[in-house]
């Protein structure tokens, strides 16, 4: 494993890999190493490029190096009553750089946006071995192309960030979970859609297999109280609502946003138009699945022991897509982690990727579409 200490080391590592035609896998804490196909290549750990560069709470921006642990970043901003609004979550050891590169977002994503909406700028070393900056360190900026969007969720395919600036926001003073219990599959979507479409400002909505629809109400105390009082009236035609204790709600939200407690050797992360979430589940249930729904229906976690692509095919039938999060080596070698893009988009994506990495230094085999890029252009 290579462990660069700074940008200079990183530039040299990329230059040498280019010259020697070896491949580099960029890694943060390594907590998501199981995503994508098994591969054998040099791993570049970004963990030594760590630390806070600048944090001014009143400016709502935080500049940090990528190897800083996600937990440390969250503690730092929490001490100022702030948060990363996209609600990133990760296992112990996850880094902020890895979290951004994987585009991780939690339940609040449905109203507050995803990691892509909160990365303001970065410095990185590209596959050309060149250091470049993109975006900026202020919350409002449209100068030049929005490369931070490309970097977020890029999984180390276009460059190694050495510094990144994220937007931070005030943390709600109070958070309450309202629950509709024993909700049948055919009633859950209407509850979530009505809640998210109401002016009670529900910030997250999830639905679990055990029948709970969770609605999160957060903000200043007088506002939270007023909205918690209003919600049961707004949803009266659908279901009764109760307040749920925090210690009961917390693990349920955790499962809704990460799918971590679902039973099954194979885990899929399915993104669909919210109205199709419960139909997707109903279609797949005869196959023997475990599931959880977040983002008001826009995200469906599906766990199963099946190693075929039925989940992916059904996701497509419902105008969505399925990402393979967890599976054995054999399946991951066979089934691409990302839902295959349509041909025109696939070609464009490869052209954009090669705009950053023309020599395929970061093509490790983890993502088969990158390794097969030349076939698209043939």
């Amino acid at each position: 494993m290579l462990a660069p200490r700074d940008t200079k080391d990183l530039v040299e590592i990329v230059a040498r890999a280019t010259a020697e035609r070896t491949k580099l896998e960029l890694a943060g804490g390594g907590t998501k190493a199981g995503f994508g196909a098994p591969r054998d290549c040099e791993v570049v750990s970004m963990q030594n490029i760590a630390g806070v560069v600048d944090y001014d709470p009143a400016e709502l921006v935080l500049t940090v190096r990528p190897g800083t642990s996600l937990a440390d970043v969250q503690d730092l901003v929490a001490a100022e009553n702030q948060m990363l609004a996209f609600e990133p979550w990760g296992e112990l050891g996850a880094t902020i750089g890895g979290t951004i590169a994987a585009g991780v977002a939690g339940s609040r994503r449905v109203t507050a946006g995803s990691a892509r909406d909160h990365l303001l700028g970065f410095t990185a070393v590209s596959g050309r071995g060149e250091t470049f900056v993109a975006g900026a360190k202020v919350v409002k900026n449209v100068t030049g192309f929005d490369l931070p969007k490309l970097m977020t969720g890029s999984w180390g395919r276009i460059g190694a960030m050495t510094e990144l600036t994220v937007k931070v926001l005030p943390k709600p003073r109070q958070t309450v979970t309202m629950v509709a219990r024993n909700t049948p599959l055919n009633a859950a979507y209407a509850i979530m859609a009505s809640a998210l479409g109401s002016n009670a400002e529900v910030s997250a909505a999830a639905y679990l297999r055990t029948g709970e629809v969770l609605l999160r109400v957060a903000g200043f105390a007088p506002s939270v109280e007023a909205r918690c009082a209003a919600l049961p009236r707004l949803l009266a035609e659908h279901c009764p609502l109760d307040r749920m204790a925090d210690d009961e709600a917390e693990p349920l939200w955790r499962n809704a946003m990460s799918g971590h407690a679902l039973q099954g050797a194979v885990l899929w992360d399915v993104h669909v138009p919210p109205r199709h979430a419960t139909d997707l589940v109903a279609t797949l249930e005869p196959l023997g699945i475990d599931w959880a729904i977040d983002w008001g229906g826009a995200r469906v976690w599906i766990a199963t022991d099946r190693t075929d692509s039925e989940v992916r095919e059904q996701a497509l039938n419902f105008n969505g897509e399925a990402r393979l999060i967890r599976a054995g080596d054999e399946m991951r070698a066979r089934v691409p982690a990302f839902h295959p893009r349509r041909p025109g988009v696939a070609m464009l994506e490869q052209r954009v990727r090669r705009a950053f990495d023309p020599a395929d230094v970061f093509v490790t085999g983890r993502f088969k579409e990158d390794a097969d890029a030349d076939q698209l252009f043939a």
Binding site: M1, A3, R5, R16, T18, A19, N48, A58, E59, A105, G113, S114, R116, D117, R128, E130, F132, A136, V138, K140, N141, V142, T143, G144, F145, D146, L147, K149, L150, T152, G153, S154, I158, P170, A190, L196, G197, N199, A200, F220, P222, S223, E225, A226, R227, H271, R275, N319, G320, E321, H339, R342, G344, V345, L348, E349, V352, R353, A355, F356
Partner: protein, 497 residues
């Protein structure tokens, strides 16, 4: 008129008749404009100091026609400038003498509204405000609200990543667009994103938004809509100087409040606005803040109280809370009319758009005052205070020889100052032609090359909207060359574990 556009290509001009004939084949009837009188209305966008009649205007009505126009121009090596409603303040839609102006004004249909999933699918020529108008009956709205929202198109908003007074809380266009259909310069159609969130793979949609018409032509947009807040209230607070107002803004945010809007005006802007719309702004203050909160009534009441307390602690000299909707609208009337109001006190004005870290505001304002002395031109400031986005309005008279050039130089110095203090050249208006030559102030050569290599991935012939955003366009083949050659790389000892 200091910004030079690329020299028109003689070969293209020589085949103008053939280009027009080919476009008429694709778009029959009135959809092609080529006579000088007909071209005149298209010669400029919102940056009216720059004018250039296009070679020809084409107004397609279908996606197939857009594809055919682009495919033909691609084959024939003819440049294309896409255009929405032409309200860009940075010259993003300025025509070129040797380019086809591709105007998307006929794509005016709202294709679908899904209230349950809270998305609307529209054609790009639909105006920003028309989306809100279409859904407000059911209690929804489209959040980004650029001041030109009555006229500007959603396609143009996507190109420019437009903002508005509410974007601190609700985001820019990029945070509110879920998908686009895009025609590439070679005529291919791709769909990026859709009605679901966070598609896998590189976020191509993310780089399309704000790409200023350099990467493709948007033919359909899917946006998210939000439930309209139950109420909105505003408070109008006067301070003796901008420093105190700035301190108030910082404290509001530090105490965890993200107002729906937080606008600052300096003395010249206050006086101009009050003289124009007479809404009762205090005239004896050095800075005025309009702070608006929205949400449930209980929240608004609570926050207005908190903001009034914070304002008092920061030396507010006047404070008025809106008692009803009419008064809230009146507070905004002056701010929203600030540009035309300044237009009444000066024959011409030039609107700038930098963003700064808010903590640097006092220093930036005092140096702006020095620049005002140096250039002998007045300046009025309106300011999206919450997110640090400055709109200095430079006052000049285009009929006085040299004043426009001086105004532009003054503006450039302001933007250099924004970058120097850690900010950016443009917060919401885009680079266009206006800030093109200032890009090296903010980005190094490698940074710009990396951005341009993305341009090359979409449009290797550099035919879409040339002369905008990049001070120099390198040939794509040059950019592709690798900088590292075999055997020339050092092999230092690297730490391993």
């Amino acid at each position: 008129m200091s910004i030079a556009m690329p020299k028109p290509d003689a070969q293209t001009l020589a085949k103008r008749d053939r280009i027009i004939a080919a476009l008429r084949e694709i778009v029959p009837g009135e959809g092609v404009i080529d006579d000088l009188d007909g071209l005149r209305p298209w010669e400029s966008d919102g940056l009216t100091a720059y004018r250039q009649p296009p070679m020809v205007v084409v107004l397609p009505e279908t996606v197939e026609q857009v594809q055919q126009v682009l495919r033909w121009c691609h084959k024939e090596d003819v440049k294309v400038v896409p255009r929405g409603s032409g309200t860009s303040l940075s010259g993003g839609a300025l025509p070129l003498a040797d380019a086809v102006l591709l105007a998307m004004g006929k794509f005016k249909r709202i294709l679908d509204i899904d209230y349950e999933d809270r998305v609307v699918v529209v054609q790009p020529g639909v105006t920003n405000l028309a989306i809100t108008n279409a859904v407000e009956g059911r209690g929804f709205y489209y959040a980004p609200d650029p001041s030109s929202q009555i006229a500007c198109s959603i396609g143009g908003n996507v190109a420019e990543n437009s903002g508005g007074v509410h974007c601190l809380k609700y985001g820019l266009t990029t945070n509110n667009v879920l998908g686009v259909e895009l025609v590439l310069m070679n005529g291919d159609v791709v769909r990026l994103g859709g009605r679901h969130l966070d598609p896998g793979g590189l976020d191509l949609l993310g780089v399309i938004v704000g790409s200023e018409g350099l990467l493709g032509v948007v033919t359909e947009v899917t946006v998210r809509i939000l439930p309209k807040p139950e109420t909105a209230r505003a408070v109008l607070v006067g301070f003796s100087d901008p420093e105190s107002a700035g301190a108030c803004v910082a404290q509001v945010i530090a105490e965890g409040i993200i107002p729906a809007g937080m606008e600052m005006m300096d003395r010249p802007a206050i006086h101009a606005a009050e003289a124009f719309v007479k809404v009762g702004y205090p005239l004896d203050v050095g800075a005025l803040l309009i702070v608006e909160v929205d949400g449930p009534a209980a929240e608004c009441d609570h926050l207005i109280e908190e903001i009034a307390r914070i304002a008092g602690a920061n030396g507010a000299v006047t404070s008025r809370v809106s008692q009803d909707e009419a008064e809230r609208v009146a507070f905004w009337a002056g701010r929203k009319a600030a540009f035309p109001a300044v237009g009444r006190i000066s024959p011409d004005y030039y609107c700038m758009d930098g963003t700064i870290p808010r903590r640097r505001l006092p220093e930036v304002l005092s140096r702006m005052e020095e620049l005002s002395q140096k250039y002998q031109l007045g300046v009025a400031n309106v300011f999206h205070a919450g997110d640090g986005n400055l709109h200095p309005l430079i006052l000049y008279d285009a009929n006085v020889p040299g004043e426009l050039a001086r105004a532009e130089e003054f503006g450039n110095d302001i933007l250099r100052l924004c970058v120097e203090v850690g900010g950016v050249l443009t917060g919401e208006h885009g680079v266009g032609i206006e800030k093109r030559d200032l890009m090296p102030e903010m980005f190094g050569e490698e940074d710009l090359k990396q951005q341009q290599s993305v341009k090359c991935a979409f449009d290797p012939g550099l035919l879409l909207n040339p002369g905008k955003v990049f001070p120099t366009l390198h040939r794509c083949a040059e950019l592709g060359r690798m900088h590292v050659h075999h055997g020339e790389v050092p092999h230092p000892e690297l730490p391993r574990f």
